[in-house]
Symmetry: C2
Subunit: 700 residues, 2 copies
């Protein structure tokens, strides 16, 4: 028995907590298993009866003769531990714990859940749940859940962290005619989680698309690695909720402030080729389209319609969704011109007029699908006097099958007059939507996945020779000082140790030292207050630029100290840093923030005061290749500045890529670095300089 | 008979082109009028028969005894002119021309349409169409269209420029249980258009919300004035398509490039309080919600749910849609804590748990609606073991009626098990959606309209004393020169004449003149090439800054000329402008572009190289008040810079408002100015300066 077969197609099941009493979960689950025509053995377990629903019942799972693959547990939480012990002794392979009252209900429940997980580890069996609805597999078949209906058969898997969404969708999908291979309720994810499901189903030939509703990912690193591989094989679409709570996270860096946890999810999903849905409707519109149609080879859609208005609306949606309107080949245009009535629009969108019957639909669809500039097609129908929806649906099905590698979806707009036609389309693998916008979005989803699939995820991750020792030394000193924020010169030294170019800088503890350092570095210099409490130094007059001589250094020293005393009388002042004054470059920010789920996330974008104004920052989860680092830059609007606008020289983008990659390596080598901001990084025609580096450590 | 009563509730109708033959439009229309129980007189007109569908038929409308209010014309286009003449003589009040073959079919059709309009003017009757489906009024009742079914009764008006969308929606709406007062097919809008309908229906007590599908607005100025007043009275929701074609318009100014025609539509709609829908689904989700529920008093929603997942999803959507989550009063929280089970979530979203029955829904809904922090409520239901959708629907209806001023919408997620409950809700004025996202969007629509309604649209439009004469003089000279683009010093002079502060500048035709001007203005100076062909001077080395003395002016003069000769050998060079060098200010753009539909559109935003990079420009249709000019600035991200970030002094925003208002007045006074860009406008702590002004004229 391979993988999770014990869960989806066990040979034998024990229902622990099976009940004779209608209305009890233990009754419903057993009844569902029986009614689903499950072909394996079923053992009801209940200490106080001998027979339930016509099956012999056992006092304990230990009393069953022969093996038990899967136990389904519905007894109250406080008895689950004992049940798990017995199941362990019986050498079961898996357990679905439907019972609630675990982690979701507070501390004592969490303790129970931990004990359960440890028991499973001890006996080497896996757990789905607790606090879940169970699973349904339409192919085994088995309905080991307390959902009253089973979904239609199909090739979509839906795994959900919310049981209520699972049941709601199950019910809804039957009316919509959408079929599933598996419904999986993830519950508390004490053991088996979304990653296990993806791993299992990536190679399941009965599953064409994996849909997930998640409120969080349990193990980001593992999800990243597993989903990255799985998404090469088949589409994974995730509706991740909790977007609104993500802004709340406190962050002391600019990068951290821009990179909320929801941003980290989006970044990770994009990076590994997981498609993100933004509503329940979108999740299932994607699901049905991936389920029934193939992936297009090119981003290029043709629209066929029997009315102008919906064609224009669909075209608008294409623009919004980044789906390109196909430019039909001259030959196709000519073919349409010759065969369609004179008033037709023979360019895309192709308007075959209100009196179009099935022959015209068939001809036009065949013509555009034959066009090598067309990657996919949306067929729109509005019910008009001459319209024959059923016959047209049949034509669409016929032509669509002929060009099965090019996705075709339909939008039939109407009520009673098109309902049957719409069902026939869906039953014959052509998704049909109420409104054209959904059709376009679905095709855009297919097209997005096609391009995600092409991303090469196995590029080399560079390693540079760096001075780890030096960084260790600095960090140790900072912790010894009971600080978490590095002082400017310390952060600059870390950067330097990691090959990130910085201006010369030293810390002065007195005016005399400042003057001496300025002489050594060479005028002009910049002076900045050094204090762990003051993060935005410019705001409070803690920075003075362009000091040309001893006199100016002296004046600046006193100006800075008096400003700081005024605004931050309680601040601890470590001195004033004296730094080489460098020419103005194009201002960028490069930063790192450590996400709780996904680990270090690196960002690059327009720096200086524009960081907060425009949030023009592109992110990736570390580590990544040189190519990805370049992609990050090219995704920002700042890239247009870097390439040189209006005849200016381009910046040295290679040197910026180097900084990104070194920051990435630093974040990998030192997990105790929590946040890092280089802002600004000055980019020049040749090279770049990290003007200001901020580093914050994890609480040790 | 007031307004358009002749159209929606005529006393008598002639159907010109009425036919005995099933399948003919003239048959269907007559049959529909009869079957709709139209209470007035019906006269079929057909030269070759005496009786149709049991009614006496006439050879011509002139043969009818007694008056005819409305003629419905289905005869071929080439006969419509003759029919119109006869109708005119018969003194009809209105005509619905269903026949196609007019403007939509090319030049000769356009001529026919023009003749038809002139006939109507001559005889003082109004026309709906041609090339339309007709109208349906469910209250009169009358179905004067060739749509085969009539919609359910209700208080929504839907007027559509696309007949196909009208029929599709009509059909769809019956299944969905959505009721309408009127369906109006606008057709070619040769005479009556969307503005006439808004004007008529604003004061129609049977209409609660006006929905429009438009591909364009016929008369922008009139629409602006009429819709501005109507939107104070009732919501107008528009789905305007053709977004994707709008980018194509050629524009020579930055402002023009950013302000495509779709931007102009969005700007105008927002300015006059018209709500814009972005999909067919959104249009009707708004329609049904406005139809059934009141406008909330505050932006604040409470969510009640029997499952966590959908509650989180709804909360996410609130954030996306700008709908604020209500912070429940302490008293409400206490009430919920005392009465709900311990595991419930008593903060918003309120999770009343999976076993919630009608009593718990009723209690929770009553509690949150009683809370003065709550403006509206979304109630979510997922079908679980104990859930009784019908009883819960009834509870929601009861409580919702008790708090009828606070909108309540529902989302019941499921199929068969919730369908009846969903219908009952809708039939009892509680909109019910398949998924919670639609519920949130609808409430957001109500809330948006509530704030649009509060905008004071009757603020004073300032008029300034300006030097019109001077501008006239300059423009005349430009036209005399056969130019459309003003030279830099000309544009600056126009700005100066309109009270817009500019640096001192003069045009030098020779090096000697340049030197003389520089002496007069005072060093340092800036020099720029002056050529009608060169719009982006900096890009090709046509600008040299900060010239301190004669030597530098001399050098710059030759540098500029050689650069220009290199890049633009064919350019006509009018000389080199010599301009006072002014200190660097915060760079803004203020511009004007004249939209074909809406007239002059004024924009303000971040200037310089950031214009194209971030498109941070806020627009309004001119004219507008001082307050609106300030609002424009405050909507941009540049506003944060202007207010002074990080301890900098704020810019003189009043002076910027002045420039915006003067540009607006200039655009009103000189309709021949097509586009204007001030980029950059330097904003200072005190005052501002228009550094570079570009003005393009209309082809005269």
């Amino acid at each position: 028995m391979a993988g999770l077969d014990f869960l989806f197609s066990p040979s034998s099941i024990a229902v622990i907590g099976a009940s004779k009493h209608e209305g009890k979960v233990g009754y419903t689950v057993l009844k569902n298993i029986i009614s689903s025509n499950f072909p394996g053995k079923i053992y009801p377990i209940n200490p106080s009866t001998d027979e339930i629903l016509g099956l012999k019942s056992y006092k304990s799972v230990l009393n069953v003769n022969g093996g038990v693959d899967l136990a389904i547990v519905t007894v109250p939480a406080e008895h689950v531990f004992q049940v798990a012990e017995e199941c362990g002794q019986k050498k079961i392979k898996g357990m679905i714990v439907i019972s609630a009252g675990f982690k979701e209900s507070g501390h004592s429940g969490a303790v129970l859940e931990q004990a359960l997980v440890e028991t499973a580890k001890k006996y080497n069996f896996r757990i789905l749940g607790p606090n879940c609805l169970g699973i349904i597999d339409t192919l085994t078949p088995i309905n080991a859940s307390f959902a009253s209906r089973a979904p239609l058969e199909g090739n979509i898997v839906f795994a959900s962290q919310s049981g209520a969404i699972l049941t709601g969708i199950l019910d809804w999908s039957i009316e919509e005619g959408i079929g599933f291979s598996k419904f999986i309720s993830l519950g508390n994810k004490s053991d088996l989680d979304e990653t296990d499901m993806i791993k299992e189903l990536a190679n399941d030939s009965n599953t064409k698309v994996i849909l997930l509703y998640l409120e969080g990912v349990k193990d980001g690193l593992r999800f990243f690695e597993v989903a990255k591989k799985a998404s090469r094989i088949k589409p994974i679409v995730v509706l991740k909720s909790g977007v609104s709570s993500s802004g709340a996270r406190a962050a002391s860096s600019h990068t951290g402030a821009l990179a909320g946890s929801d941003k980290a999810y989006s970044t990770a999903f994009k990076q590994i080729g997981v498609l993100r849905a933004h509503s329940i409707e979108e999740l299932f519109d994607y699901g049905i389209t991936f389920s029934l149609q193939d992936i297009p080879e090119i981003n290029s859609v043709a629209i066929i319609t029997n009315a102008g208005g919906p064609g224009i609306i669909a075209t608008d949606t294409c623009e919004e969704e980044g789906l390109l309107m196909a430019r039909l080949e001259a030959e196709t245009v000519e073919k349409l011109r010759t065969n369609l009535p004179r008033e037709s629009s023979i360019y895309n969108p192709v308007d075959i007029l209100g009196d179009a019957r099935e022959d015209r639909y068939e001809f036009a669809l065949d013509a555009v699908l034959s066009d090598s500039n067309v990657g996919c097609v949306l067929v729109i129908l509005t019910p008009q006097a001459m319209t024959r929806p059923l016959e047209i649906a049949q034509s669409i099905i016929t032509v669509s099958k002929k060009f099965s590698h090019k996705p075709v979806v339909a939008s039939f707009i109407g009520g009673e007059s098109i309902q049957e036609a719409s069902k026939i389309l869906i039953n014959n693998d052509v998704p049909c939507f109420e409104f054209p916008e959904s059709g376009v979005k679905s095709l855009a989803g297919l097209t997005k996945f096609a391009s995600l699939k092409k991303i090469d995820l196995y590029e080399e991750i560079p390693r540079f020779d760096v001075d780890n020792e030096k960084v260790n030394e600095i960090i140790t000193k900072v912790y010894d000082d009971h600080r978490l924020v590095l002082l400017g010169h310390e952060a600059a030294a870390v950067a330097k140790a990691y090959g990130i170019p910085t201006p010369k800088v030293e810390l002065a503890k007195s005016l005399d030292e400042a003057l001496e350092i300025a002489e050594r570095i060479g005028y002009p210099v910049v002076m900045k207050v050094s204090s762990p409490q003051i993060l935005h130094k410019t705001d409070i007059g803690g920075v003075v630029l362009n000091l040309e001589n001893q006199e100016e250094v002296t004046k600046a020293y006193y100006t800075i100290l008096s400003s700081v005393f005024k605004y931050f009388p309680q601040a601890q002042i470590n001195g004033v840093s004296v730094q080489q004054m460098v020419p103005q470059g194009r201002e960028l920010i490069i930063g790192m923030t450590r996400d709780l789920t996904w680990g270090p996330m690196i960002g690059v974008g327009l720096g200086g005061i524009y960081v907060n104004l425009f949030e023009d920052v592109s992110f990736r989860i570390s580590p990544f290749s040189r190519k990805v680092a370049f992609d990050m830059i090219s995704e920002t609007k700042a890239y247009r500045l870097l390439k040189g606008m209006r005849g200016e020289k381009p910046s040295d983008i290679d040197s910026i890529v180097d900084v990104i990659l070194h920051v990435s390596q630093l974040s990998q080598d030192f997990k105790i670095i929590n946040e890092l901001d280089i802002n600004p990084l000055f980019a020049y025609d040749e090279g770049c300089l990290a003007l200001d580096v901020k580093i914050t450590l994890e609480k040790s």
